[in-house]
Symmetry: C2
Subunit: 129 residues, 2 copies
DNA sequence: CTGGAGGTTACCGTAAGGGGAAGGTCAACA
DNA sequence: TGTTGACCTTCCCCTTACGGTAACCTCCAG
Protein backbone atom coordinates (compact mmCIF):
# COMPACT_ATOMS: atom_id res chain seq x y z
CA UNK A 1 0.00 0.00 0.00
CA UNK A 2 1.02 3.61 -0.44
CA UNK A 3 2.51 5.79 2.22
CA UNK A 4 -0.63 7.64 3.29
CA UNK A 5 -2.60 4.50 3.91
CA UNK A 6 0.26 2.89 5.82
CA UNK A 7 0.63 6.02 7.90
CA UNK A 8 -3.05 6.10 8.68
CA UNK A 9 -3.14 2.45 9.70
CA UNK A 10 -0.24 2.99 12.07
CA UNK A 11 -1.53 6.25 13.49
CA UNK A 12 1.41 8.16 12.05
CA UNK A 13 1.96 10.73 9.31
CA UNK A 14 3.46 10.25 5.87
CA UNK A 15 6.12 12.73 6.91
CA UNK A 16 7.07 10.54 9.85
CA UNK A 17 7.31 7.46 7.63
CA UNK A 18 9.65 9.25 5.25
CA UNK A 19 11.69 10.33 8.24
CA UNK A 20 11.90 6.77 9.56
CA UNK A 21 13.14 5.69 6.17
CA UNK A 22 15.72 8.47 6.09
CA UNK A 23 17.22 7.23 9.36
CA UNK A 24 16.99 3.58 8.28
CA UNK A 25 14.49 2.68 10.94
CA UNK A 26 12.04 1.23 8.41
CA UNK A 27 12.86 1.14 4.70
CA UNK A 28 9.97 -0.05 2.53
CA UNK A 29 10.15 -1.49 -0.97
CA UNK A 30 9.64 0.78 -3.94
CA UNK A 31 7.23 0.36 -6.82
CA UNK A 32 8.46 0.80 -10.41
CA UNK A 33 7.00 4.29 -10.37
CA UNK A 34 9.15 5.24 -7.38
CA UNK A 35 6.33 5.14 -4.87
CA UNK A 36 7.03 3.51 -1.50
CA UNK A 37 5.26 0.19 -1.09
CA UNK A 38 4.44 -0.75 2.51
CA UNK A 39 3.70 -4.40 3.27
CA UNK A 40 1.50 -5.72 6.06
CA UNK A 41 4.68 -6.52 7.94
CA UNK A 42 5.86 -2.94 7.49
CA UNK A 43 2.60 -1.68 8.91
CA UNK A 44 3.00 -3.98 11.91
CA UNK A 45 6.46 -2.56 12.49
CA UNK A 46 5.11 0.96 12.18
CA UNK A 47 2.48 0.15 14.79
CA UNK A 48 5.22 -1.16 17.04
CA UNK A 49 7.08 2.11 16.54
CA UNK A 50 3.97 4.16 17.20
CA UNK A 51 3.19 2.35 20.43
CA UNK A 52 6.74 2.63 21.69
CA UNK A 53 6.83 6.34 20.83
CA UNK A 54 3.54 6.80 22.66
CA UNK A 55 5.20 5.27 25.73
CA UNK A 56 7.83 8.00 25.60
CA UNK A 57 10.68 6.13 23.93
CA UNK A 58 12.90 8.15 21.62
CA UNK A 59 13.36 6.98 18.08
CA UNK A 60 16.80 5.62 18.94
CA UNK A 61 15.34 3.69 21.85
CA UNK A 62 12.68 2.33 19.53
CA UNK A 63 15.48 1.16 17.29
CA UNK A 64 16.87 -0.83 20.23
CA UNK A 65 13.46 -2.26 21.06
CA UNK A 66 12.98 -3.32 17.46
CA UNK A 67 16.40 -4.94 17.43
CA UNK A 68 15.42 -6.95 20.50
CA UNK A 69 12.09 -7.83 18.96
CA UNK A 70 13.81 -9.19 15.89
CA UNK A 71 16.52 -11.03 17.79
CA UNK A 72 15.45 -14.55 18.78
CA UNK A 73 18.48 -14.81 21.07
CA UNK A 74 17.48 -11.79 23.12
CA UNK A 75 17.13 -11.81 26.87
CA UNK A 76 13.90 -10.29 28.13
CA UNK A 77 16.03 -8.66 30.81
CA UNK A 78 17.36 -6.23 28.23
CA UNK A 79 13.89 -5.09 27.21
CA UNK A 80 12.85 -4.72 30.81
CA UNK A 81 15.86 -2.56 31.58
CA UNK A 82 14.84 -0.21 28.78
CA UNK A 83 11.31 0.01 30.11
CA UNK A 84 12.38 0.59 33.68
CA UNK A 85 14.83 3.30 32.69
CA UNK A 86 12.11 5.02 30.72
CA UNK A 87 9.75 4.65 33.64
CA UNK A 88 12.25 6.43 35.88
CA UNK A 89 12.65 9.24 33.38
CA UNK A 90 8.91 9.66 33.07
CA UNK A 91 8.53 9.76 36.82
CA UNK A 92 11.20 12.44 37.06
CA UNK A 93 9.46 14.50 34.41
CA UNK A 94 6.24 14.06 36.32
CA UNK A 95 7.84 15.45 39.45
CA UNK A 96 9.26 18.35 37.49
CA UNK A 97 5.89 19.16 35.97
CA UNK A 98 4.17 18.90 39.32
CA UNK A 99 6.60 21.45 40.69
CA UNK A 100 5.78 23.75 37.78
CA UNK A 101 2.09 23.27 38.33
CA UNK A 102 2.48 24.16 41.97
CA UNK A 103 4.46 27.29 41.13
CA UNK A 104 1.95 28.33 38.50
CA UNK A 105 -0.95 27.85 40.87
CA UNK A 106 0.83 30.00 43.41
CA UNK A 107 1.35 32.69 40.80
CA UNK A 108 -2.25 32.60 39.63
CA UNK A 109 -3.52 32.92 43.18
CA UNK A 110 -1.38 35.99 43.73
CA UNK A 111 -2.96 37.93 40.89
CA UNK A 112 -6.35 39.60 40.79
CA UNK A 113 -6.50 39.38 37.00
CA UNK A 114 -8.22 42.72 36.58
CA UNK A 115 -7.62 45.97 34.67
CA UNK A 116 -5.12 47.35 37.16
CA UNK A 117 -1.34 47.05 36.89
CA UNK A 118 -0.76 45.59 40.36
CA UNK A 119 0.16 41.99 39.72
CA UNK A 120 1.38 39.35 42.14
CA UNK A 121 2.59 37.21 39.26
CA UNK A 122 5.08 39.78 38.07
CA UNK A 123 6.02 40.66 41.65
CA UNK A 124 6.75 37.04 42.47
CA UNK A 125 8.75 36.49 39.31
CA UNK A 126 10.74 39.62 40.05
CA UNK A 127 11.37 39.00 43.71
CA UNK A 128 11.29 35.23 44.01
CA UNK A 129 8.44 35.55 46.55
CA UNK B 1 30.18 42.13 36.77
CA UNK B 2 31.32 39.62 34.17
CA UNK B 3 29.17 37.05 32.50
CA UNK B 4 30.06 34.06 34.65
CA UNK B 5 29.27 35.78 37.88
CA UNK B 6 26.00 37.14 36.55
CA UNK B 7 25.09 33.69 35.29
CA UNK B 8 25.89 32.12 38.63
CA UNK B 9 23.84 34.67 40.56
CA UNK B 10 20.86 34.04 38.32
CA UNK B 11 21.19 30.28 38.30
CA UNK B 12 21.91 30.24 34.57
CA UNK B 13 24.88 29.51 32.32
CA UNK B 14 27.11 31.97 30.50
CA UNK B 15 25.99 30.30 27.31
CA UNK B 16 22.37 31.05 28.13
CA UNK B 17 23.18 34.70 28.81
CA UNK B 18 24.91 35.04 25.45
CA UNK B 19 21.88 33.41 23.86
CA UNK B 20 19.52 35.84 25.56
CA UNK B 21 21.59 38.68 24.22
CA UNK B 22 21.57 37.20 20.71
CA UNK B 23 17.76 37.20 20.70
CA UNK B 24 17.57 40.66 22.29
CA UNK B 25 15.98 39.41 25.46
CA UNK B 26 18.63 41.02 27.67
CA UNK B 27 21.47 43.05 26.17
CA UNK B 28 24.08 44.13 28.73
CA UNK B 29 26.54 46.99 28.43
CA UNK B 30 30.04 46.33 27.16
CA UNK B 31 33.33 47.24 28.79
CA UNK B 32 36.06 48.87 26.71
CA UNK B 33 37.77 45.48 26.46
CA UNK B 34 34.67 44.00 24.84
CA UNK B 35 33.56 42.06 27.90
CA UNK B 36 29.86 42.09 28.76
CA UNK B 37 29.10 44.13 31.88
CA UNK B 38 26.02 42.98 33.82
CA UNK B 39 24.46 45.43 36.25
CA UNK B 40 22.49 44.58 39.37
CA UNK B 41 19.39 45.37 37.38
CA UNK B 42 20.47 42.96 34.66
CA UNK B 43 20.92 40.25 37.24
CA UNK B 44 17.45 40.91 38.61
CA UNK B 45 16.07 40.55 35.10
CA UNK B 46 18.02 37.33 34.63
CA UNK B 47 16.53 36.00 37.83
CA UNK B 48 13.09 36.92 36.54
CA UNK B 49 13.87 35.01 33.38
CA UNK B 50 15.18 32.01 35.30
CA UNK B 51 12.10 31.81 37.51
CA UNK B 52 9.73 32.12 34.58
CA UNK B 53 11.64 29.45 32.65
CA UNK B 54 11.48 27.20 35.71
CA UNK B 55 7.70 27.60 35.63
CA UNK B 56 7.67 26.21 32.12
CA UNK B 57 7.39 29.41 30.11
CA UNK B 58 9.17 29.47 26.77
CA UNK B 59 11.68 32.20 26.09
CA UNK B 60 9.15 34.02 23.92
CA UNK B 61 6.58 33.85 26.69
CA UNK B 62 9.18 35.21 29.10
CA UNK B 63 9.63 38.10 26.70
CA UNK B 64 5.92 38.85 27.03
CA UNK B 65 6.06 38.61 30.80
CA UNK B 66 9.02 40.97 30.89
CA UNK B 67 7.17 43.40 28.64
CA UNK B 68 4.25 43.38 31.07
CA UNK B 69 6.60 43.76 34.00
CA UNK B 70 8.14 46.85 32.43
CA UNK B 71 4.84 48.36 31.33
CA UNK B 72 3.28 50.52 34.05
CA UNK B 73 0.03 50.64 32.07
CA UNK B 74 -0.36 46.88 32.04
CA UNK B 75 -3.46 45.07 33.22
CA UNK B 76 -2.80 42.23 35.59
CA UNK B 77 -5.41 40.33 33.64
CA UNK B 78 -2.92 39.88 30.80
CA UNK B 79 -0.33 38.31 33.07
CA UNK B 80 -2.91 36.03 34.63
CA UNK B 81 -4.04 34.82 31.23
CA UNK B 82 -0.48 33.81 30.42
CA UNK B 83 -0.16 31.93 33.69
CA UNK B 84 -3.47 30.16 33.31
CA UNK B 85 -2.72 29.11 29.76
CA UNK B 86 0.59 27.72 30.89
CA UNK B 87 -1.12 25.97 33.76
CA UNK B 88 -3.47 24.27 31.33
CA UNK B 89 -0.58 23.18 29.14
CA UNK B 90 1.29 21.78 32.12
CA UNK B 91 -1.77 19.88 33.26
CA UNK B 92 -2.17 18.39 29.81
CA UNK B 93 1.45 17.31 29.79
CA UNK B 94 0.91 15.79 33.22
CA UNK B 95 -1.97 13.73 31.93
CA UNK B 96 0.07 12.64 28.96
CA UNK B 97 2.96 11.58 31.16
CA UNK B 98 0.65 9.75 33.53
CA UNK B 99 -0.68 7.77 30.59
CA UNK B 100 2.87 6.91 29.60
CA UNK B 101 3.70 5.87 33.14
CA UNK B 102 0.66 3.63 33.21
CA UNK B 103 1.61 2.02 29.90
CA UNK B 104 5.19 1.52 31.00
CA UNK B 105 4.13 -0.07 34.26
CA UNK B 106 1.90 -2.44 32.32
CA UNK B 107 4.79 -3.34 30.06
CA UNK B 108 7.19 -3.89 32.94
CA UNK B 109 4.73 -6.17 34.69
CA UNK B 110 4.36 -8.29 31.59
CA UNK B 111 8.05 -9.13 31.42
CA UNK B 112 9.99 -11.56 33.56
CA UNK B 113 13.24 -9.74 32.95
CA UNK B 114 15.33 -12.87 32.82
CA UNK B 115 17.76 -14.53 30.40
CA UNK B 116 15.05 -15.98 28.18
CA UNK B 117 13.74 -14.43 24.99
CA UNK B 118 10.06 -14.56 25.91
CA UNK B 119 9.10 -10.99 26.62
CA UNK B 120 5.71 -9.47 27.29
CA UNK B 121 7.06 -6.01 26.58
CA UNK B 122 7.92 -6.81 23.00
CA UNK B 123 4.75 -8.85 22.59
CA UNK B 124 2.63 -5.96 23.79
CA UNK B 125 4.40 -3.43 21.61
CA UNK B 126 3.97 -5.74 18.63
CA UNK B 127 0.36 -6.66 19.18
CA UNK B 128 -1.07 -3.68 21.01
CA UNK B 129 -2.03 -5.95 23.94
C1' DC C 1 56.89 37.75 31.56
C1' DT C 2 54.42 34.06 31.55
C1' DG C 3 50.72 30.88 32.56
C1' DG C 4 46.16 30.02 33.40
C1' DA C 5 41.55 31.49 34.09
C1' DG C 6 38.12 33.61 31.88
C1' DG C 7 36.40 36.48 28.12
C1' DT C 8 35.09 36.92 22.75
C1' DT C 9 33.00 35.35 18.12
C1' DA C 10 31.57 31.81 15.05
C1' DC C 11 29.90 27.60 13.59
C1' DC C 12 27.87 22.96 14.07
C1' DG C 13 24.58 19.85 16.35
C1' DT C 14 20.47 18.51 18.71
C1' DA C 15 14.87 15.52 18.16
C1' DA C 16 11.52 14.49 15.37
C1' DG C 17 9.51 15.72 12.19
C1' DG C 18 6.32 20.11 9.88
C1' DG C 19 5.72 23.22 5.98
C1' DG C 20 6.05 24.19 1.48
C1' DA C 21 7.95 24.38 -3.34
C1' DA C 22 8.65 22.15 -7.77
C1' DG C 23 7.57 18.51 -10.32
C1' DG C 24 6.11 13.36 -11.55
C1' DT C 25 2.01 9.86 -11.47
C1' DC C 26 -2.43 7.90 -11.40
C1' DA C 27 -7.40 7.34 -11.88
C1' DA C 28 -11.68 9.20 -13.13
C1' DC C 29 -14.46 11.81 -15.99
C1' DA C 30 -16.04 14.69 -20.11
C1' DT D 1 -7.92 12.15 -25.69
C1' DG D 2 -7.36 15.69 -22.60
C1' DT D 3 -7.62 17.34 -18.20
C1' DT D 4 -8.21 17.82 -13.48
C1' DG D 5 -7.33 16.79 -8.82
C1' DA D 6 -5.44 13.80 -5.52
C1' DC D 7 -1.40 11.68 -4.35
C1' DC D 8 3.42 10.77 -4.77
C1' DT D 9 8.53 12.23 -5.08
C1' DT D 10 12.82 14.95 -3.52
C1' DC D 11 14.78 18.92 -1.47
C1' DC D 12 15.45 22.47 1.62
C1' DC D 13 14.44 25.50 5.44
C1' DC D 14 12.43 25.94 10.21
C1' DT D 15 11.61 24.77 14.95
C1' DT D 16 13.79 25.20 20.90
C1' DA D 17 17.15 26.73 23.77
C1' DC D 18 20.96 26.38 24.22
C1' DG D 19 25.78 22.87 24.50
C1' DG D 20 30.28 21.91 22.54
C1' DT D 21 34.27 23.18 20.42
C1' DA D 22 37.79 25.97 18.03
C1' DA D 23 40.53 29.92 17.52
C1' DC D 24 41.71 33.86 19.50
C1' DC D 25 41.93 37.87 23.07
C1' DT D 26 42.43 39.84 27.93
C1' DC D 27 43.37 40.06 32.61
C1' DC D 28 45.70 39.08 36.86
C1' DA D 29 48.92 36.71 40.01
C1' DG D 30 53.39 35.08 40.80
Amino acid sequence: MNISQAAQRAGLTAKALRYYESIDLLVPQRNPNGYREYSQSDVATLQFIQRARACGFTVEEVRELLALYRNPDRRSHDAKVLVEEKLLQVEQQLESLKAMRSSLRGLAEACAGDDFPECGILDHLASGE
